[in-house]
């Protein structure tokens, strides 16, 4: 019964983790049944452009599809779209969809991702009356894009990646944009150095960044605008409020299944769910056991989602079990600058920032190390430098060695004193 080589594979969640799992299953040689279930009615699409080119209007819905071809194309698997999975029975090995249909499986891959947190609705008012948007789903993002095109004032609540990107896109479209971050400094999660560089980048491009700005509530104004009240009594008015205050995993539908849930679906180091034969979890919803840190971790990044998809597909088809041990990597595009990060930093890591002078322009890099080894690197507008750090990180590189290799790509690698840089001044302003 179980399944070194499962005959029927069911994938729930039709975004990048689910789609890449299905594609990799076929590429690895799965010839049995394969069904991909998704709650949204749209053909599977990619999320990162929603805060970038799609929001800016430079890429349309067809340009961000994850599967080639339109609705009629043969993708090599069955698509069940527009119907959410509502329950899982691990004993009988079946999943119930919202319309009551029961789908059996030999192997089940959970890829239901996360959804954005929202601000609490004002008492007695439906939140739909407010011009508040999150950035995760195509329909809502399309509505938001149409609204931003009017160039009216925008307040972005939350200074994470998605909020920061949405703010950058809004500002580039000509909307007077304010980014309200509740923490003591903007972008603090990335550390003071990168936070300062990013704050400066936003200030340079006309985004007003407010730190220590905790939103108390949002109220409707008569003209369709919103009044955003901060805890410290300040009030801001805007035509549009974009809410980027983090996400919660889509696991409610699994609550009756008996699976281990803890801010995500808890898995072992292979992304397999302990105690539930044939069940796996990939992507933003998966909290997998990370051997490297000795704890369970959940990340919300594209590359990790696709790497887990490839790993699980391989395990299902070939029976080969490899622990998920990624080189942590993410990118973000803000104000035309590509920010890339490799590895994981800790607050007490040693930090060095540099300006890299290259034949094609100046770039910036921040390197983190501990006991002489590279722990993380963040590059601004320097994909090649990031790639070098990424390859080095994977080999557990010595920080002096990485620095030398980066210097080799440049005509000069000059230490950057962030305490006196214009970026930090931008941050303080």
């Amino acid at each position: 019964m179980t399944a070194e080589r499962p005959e029927r594979v069911l994938v729930v969640g039709s975004s990048v983790a689910g789609v890449r799992t299905a594609q990799a299953l076929r590429a690895e040689g799965h010839t049995g049944e394969l069904t991909l279930v998704g709650a949204e009615p749209h053909l599977p699409y990619d999320k990162p452009p929603l805060s970038k080119e799609f929001l800016a209007g430079t890429r349309g819905a067809e340009d961000i599809r994850l599967l080639p071809g339109g609705p009629e194309a043969d993708h090599g698997f069955t698509l069940r779209l527009g119907r959410a999975a509502v329950a899982l029975d691990v004993e009988r090995r079946r999943v119930r969809l919202a319309d009551g249909e029961l789908l059996g499986y030999d192997a089940l891959v959970l890829a239901t991702g996360v959804r954005p947190r929202t601000l609490p609705a004002p008492v007695g008012k439906p939140v739909t009356e407010l011009p508040c948007f999150t950035v995760r789903e195509l329909s809502e993002s399309a509505e938001l894009a149409a609204r931003l095109a009017k160039k009216e004032p925008v307040i972005v609540v939350g200074g994470g990646f998605i909020g920061a990107e949405a703010a950058a896109t809004a500002a580039a479209l000509g909307c007077p944009t304010t980014l309200a971050e509740s923490g003591p400094a903007p972008f603090a999660a990335l550390g003071p150095e990168v936070g300062a560089l990013l704050a400066g980048l936003h200030a340079d491009h006309g985004v007003e960044v407010l730190a220590g700005a905790r939103v108390n509530r949002v109220e409707p104004l008569t003209d369709g605008w919103a009044l955003v009240r901060l805890d410290d009594g300040r009030c801001l008015e805007a035509a549009t409020v974009i809410v980027g205050i983090g996400c919660v995993p889509n696991t409610e539908w699994l609550e009756s299944s008996g699976l281990g849930l803890n801010d995500g679906v808890v898995t072992d180091e292979y992304c397999a769910v302990p105690g539930a034969d044939g069940v796996w979890a990939v992507g933003d919803v998966s909290r997998w056991y990370d051997r490297r840190t000795g704890g369970h971790r959940r990340v919300e990044h594209w590359t990790s989602a696709t790497e887990q998809a490839a790993l699980v597909a391989r395990a299902l088809v070939t029976g080969e079990r490899r622990p998920f041990d990624p080189v942590p990597y993410l990118w973000s595009d803000q104000h035309g600058v590509k920010l890339q990060m490799v590895g994981r930093r800790s607050a007490d890591d040693h930090v060095q920032a540099f300006t890299a002078t290259t034949p094609t322009g100046d770039r910036k890099v921040v390197l983190y190390s501990r006991d002489g080894r590279l722990t993380a690197a963040v590059t601004f507008g320097w994909p090649r430098g990031c790639m070098t750090a990424r390859q080095a990180w994977a080999k557990g590189a010595d920080i002096a060695d990485v620095t030398a290799r980066l210097a080799g790509l440049t005509t000069a690698l000059t230490p950057l004193d962030l305490s006196s840089s214009t970026y930090l001044e931008g941050n303080r302003a």
Binding site: E28, D46, T303, A310, K338, R384, M387, R390, Q391
Partner: protein, 66 residues
Amino acid sequence: MHIGLDLGKCQGYGNCVAADEAHFDLDDSGLVVLLDDKVSEADRERVAAAVRSCPADALWLVENDG
């Protein structure tokens, strides 16, 4: 078999290089460089995985070189 590339779509994310250093690299301006656009049967799955890892949809495999 060889690798198809739309350089206009490449964003320099570098996932292809991370997946397969034998076929892909990045240049100074952060765009992908094909070190070898020919793909042998033995390399097929690795290159296919590199192609799937591209977030920008800039890469594909061309099956028939005829």
